[in-house]
């Protein structure tokens, strides 16, 4: 058999195999690139799904049921009665205008009246329905209602005297009373606030509303420092925020014992939690 021919044949086979191999690698790399491109294209969808509604409670959510003071159906009822009234009014003057001119047709008028009466009812009903639709359209959306609720909350101020502070500034932020000596009660309160602050961790990104988030929490500190009877005098609009507050208090307890100069018995204190700190 011819050896040079054989070699040429083998070389040809080798180079074609080399080309095939390069092609194979290029295809694999291109496939990998394409898969990665696909994964990057799909990823943004996941982000939109991830947006939580934790901070926007709807009408059926438990956070609303926890707030008894907030129920805004009142503005709906006063709007309804004044609107339908003015409509029948302009039709009444028409009837006397017809009745005043001739005397004879007065007899005919009562005959016509029963025929005319059902007619105006239908448009009135229709208009009533339209008005109802308009009223419904004008009704504030969930978001607007939540905002209004928050505004009301802010305007309302602290729910009880527990949250009144003699000195300005927040406890947890280290702002004192600008040089004024703190009372033993304030000192103890600031100590507790600092302890809770240390145990408090939450992700601000999970809360949509940046303003108006305040949780008014009242708790009883026993003389030994154990915490009991933690109640939310006013919830924040974020359930997540409230949960973190509750967890922080539970983690921070027991507190240092209540100094004798502050109180000999159990001490009921109120703390205001905001994303900026404890006040």
């Amino acid at each position: 058999m011819n050896r040079p021919d054989e070699r040429n044949k083998q070389n040809r086979l080798f180079f074609s195999a080399f080309a095939l191999s390069v092609l194979l690698h290029v295809l694999i790399l291109a496939g990998g690139l394409y898969l990665q491109y696909l994964s990057t294209v799909k990823r943004p969808r996941l982000k939109t799904v991830d947006v939580t509604l934790v901070t926007l409670p709807g009408p059926g959510s438990p956070s609303i049921s926890r707030m008894p003071s907030v129920e805004p159906p009142l503005p709906e009822t006063p709007e309804l009665p004044p609107d339908p009234e003015p409509e029948p009014e302009p039709r009444k003057p028409e009837k006397p205008a017809v009745a005043v001119e001739p005397e004879k047709p007065i007899k005919q008028v009562p005959k016509k009246k029963p025929v005319e009466k059902p007619k105006p009812k239908k448009p009135v009903k229709k208009k009533l329905q339209e008005l109802e639709k308009k009223v419904k359209q004008d009704q504030p959306s969930e978001f607007e209602r939540t905002l209004a609720r928050l505004e009301r909350k802010v305007q309302q101020g602290p729910p009880s005297d527990l949250y009144k502070r003699t000195g300005p500034g927040g406890i947890g932020r280290g702002e004192g009373a600008y040089g004024a000596p703190m009372s033993p009660y304030e000192r103890y309160l600031s100590k507790i606030a600092m302890i809770i602050q240390r145990h408090w961790s939450f992700t601000p990104h999970l809360i949509r509303e940046k303003g108006g988030i305040e949780a008014y929490v009242a708790l009883t500190v026993q003389p030994g420092g154990t915490v009991s009877d933690i109640t939310f005098d006013r919830n924040s609009s974020s359930r997540y925020f409230d949960d973190t507050v509750l967890k922080a208090i539970e983690k921070a307890s027991p507190f240092p014992p209540v100094p004798g100069e502050v109180s000999g018995t159990a001490l009921r204190i109120g703390l205001v939690f905001t994303p900026k700190g404890i006040e």
Binding site: A17, F18, H25, G32, L33, Q36, S39, T40
Partner: protein, 220 residues
């Protein structure tokens, strides 16, 4: 190039020159080993199938001249080539009457061709073993180098958070992954081809004696 930092190719964007060199070497190794795999798969398959068909024909037909005429159809068969070499030597004997000398010459020619066949079948196959053995280590070298750099970056940024450490380690591990990707097919192919070549070699050895005998019978 990539908005996301997750993915094989986006990891490569931040790798150092040493790791990139290692990856380039491994890619070359992979391309060459696949070239050899394709070449050998084709040639060994042809060699063994043609040999089998030739042997069937050889045992069916007793006339050596007829068998030789038919070997053209089994050009790629290793055993057919060995037979051809023996036949050419047998014809070259001419008027040599010494049977023993003739037998020696034919046997020598057959052995020479058998060696040549084995050598040509096994050509480049050891490279697969080399890739199989060294590619993981080359990849490991790239990984060690990459991890070394990522630890250095920890020292520079003075932060040992996952965000600082993880990308560097992931980049480094790409080299090990590439090494394994090059090595695994090479090792599998090497084992398969070695076993196939050994089988063909055994067949050649077994039938060389048969061929010598048939030529000697013709001489008598």
């Amino acid at each position: 190039m990539f908005t996301s930092r997750i993915g094989f190719f986006s990891l490569l964007a931040d790798t150092g020159p040493v790791v990139l060199f290692v990856l380039a070497v491994l890619l070359l190794f992979s391309v060459l080993s696949w070239t050899i795999i394709i070449t050998k798969a084709a040639s060994i398959k042809k060699a063994s199938s043609d040999s089998r068909r030739f042997l069937d024909y050889f045992f069916d037909v007793s006339n050596i001249d007829k068998v030789f005429g038919e070997t053209e159809n089994y050009r790629n068969g290793s055993i057919a080539r060995v037979f051809r070499a023996g036949y050419i030597e047998y014809r070259a004997l001419g008027d040599l009457k010494d049977v023993r000398k003739s037998e020696d010459r034919i046997a020598r020619a057959i052995r020479r061709e058998a060696n040549e066949e084995t050598r040509s079948l096994a050509r480049y196959v050891p490279f697969l073993a080399t890739v199989g053995n060294t590619a993981p280590f080359i990849g490991l070298f790239g990984t060690v180098w990459g991890i070394m750099n990522s630890f250095l970056s920890i020292g520079v940024t003075q932060s040992a958070s996952l965000a600082t450490v993880a990308p560097g380690i992931a980049e480094a591990l790409v080299a090990t992954a590439a090494g394994l990707a090059a090595a695994i097919p090479s090792v599998i192919a090497y084992n398969y081809f070695t076993q196939q070549i050994n089988a063909i070699e055994r067949d050649i050895e077994d039938f060389s004696g048969e061929f010598v005998k048939s030529f000697v019978n013709e001489l008598r």
